[in-house]
Amino acid sequence: MGALFSITLVAVTAGCASTSQGDGQAFRQRIHTMALSTTTADDVRAEINFGRDVAARVLGRFPLLHDEALTRYVSLVGTALAVQSGRPELSYHFAVLDTDTINAYSAPGGYIFITRGALELAQDESEMAAVLAHEIAHVSERHIVNALHIRARDTSGATGLSKLLGAGTDTARVAFTQALDQAVKILFESGYSQQDELQADRVATLLLVDSGLDPLALRRYLARAHSRDNEAQAINTTHPPSAERLASLDRLIREEHLADLDGARNTTRFGHYVKAQ
């Protein structure tokens, strides 16, 4: 477990270092590209299988909402976003969790969850898409994968999970379970690093642009979520303070002139599928 902790610390430190580069976003983007350039098909399989276990934990905590039409609608919008996210090797899966809690989750490999409460807070399709895009960004930027160093094999001297399992020892299996617990802890307790959260917000907003949706939707949704009385119950526990997220999005919107764009909100069909619930 000590090895996993040290690996995580390296990842977090690298993320913090990026803010000192002046253009932090561009620096992170180069890191992203470099990481992808060394990713193998076995790494992706390891990521999906690990993510599948994380997804099972999410679904062990919250039940699926059994509404075929709504789930299909969320999947259509989510998949249209995911194809623009730069991870074409992944098949994304979407689900609605049957809980009033306002939140969303993602597991490595492309498992995306949005709660019924989060859907009800959205006022149009672009806002729902913004929440999904934020979670897709955690997957496309490999935030948990990088934090826990989930790779099929590793040449850097650190210990990949598959190598641990290949050792076939009880210690190795415990290490896998501990990594799984750590991923679940990120989702439900500690949250991602602030750097990762802010990056996911920025990537999500740009994903909306590339998908023809309203690029102001995430900013609008977050402002509404954080103004609610019950924010302390959910979003605040695993996300950075709202003021920082909103300020970061304001900078992006200003720098990229996103307010000048005419993205779709698709309010009518959103009302048909979601508000009719």
């Binding site: 299988n49 919008v77 998949t79 623009q84 098949s91 994304y92 689900a95 498992y111 094999r153 023809g212």
Partner: protein
């Protein structure tokens, strides 16, 4: 003699530029190449997944690129340094055991019986203090996917 010198310099400059150019590949389904580094700029051309580009310059999140005879700016979020991989799936009827399987494939013949036995997903869950796992719900989630083509078509029908 002077003409040869100029020609040599031109070739040297051309070679230097070619050496500096960086090759990239479109990783998104579609990438709009813009006239300026801005989402609000006019579109030059649309590229598609797997298309090869030459990267001339980095500016923030934007890359100045050439693709064929076209030149413009594309978001670096849509570009990778290697061609995109084919779709990878582990949904071959197994219950999340492929991670161990792939590890075992690489293991030597002396792999212990314990490694060959592996650990089922539900067993992993029982070993944890962090709650239950529902793989049946995961399979249900995986079975309700939509195709990329129908998702893109749906998104194009804005209303």
């Amino acid at each position: 003699m002077q003409g040869r010198l100029i020609l040599g310099l031109v070739i040297a400059l051309f070679s230097a530029n070619a050496a500096l150019a960086e090759t990239g590949y479109i990783r998104a389904r579609e990438a709009r190449v813009m006239k300026a580094p801005s989402a609000a700029a006019d579109q030059v051309v649309a590229l598609h997944k797997g298309d090869k580009i030459e990267i001339i310059k980095h500016q923030g999140r934007w890359l100045k690129v050439t693709a064929g005879q076209q030149e413009g700016w594309v978001s670096s979020l849509l570009v990778g340094s290697r061609p995109p991989m084919h779709k990878i799936t582990v949904l071959d009827g197994k219950d999340g055991n492929s991670l161990e399987d792939s590890a075992r494939r690489r293991a030597s013949a002396s792999t212990s019986a314990a490694a060959a036995r592996g650990l089922r997903s539900d067993e992993r869950a029982r070993q944890s203090d962090e709650g239950v796992a529902d793989f049946g719900a995961v399979r249900e989630m995986e079975s309700t996917g939509v195709s990329e083509d129908e998702a893109v078509k749906f998104m194009g029908q804005a209303n």
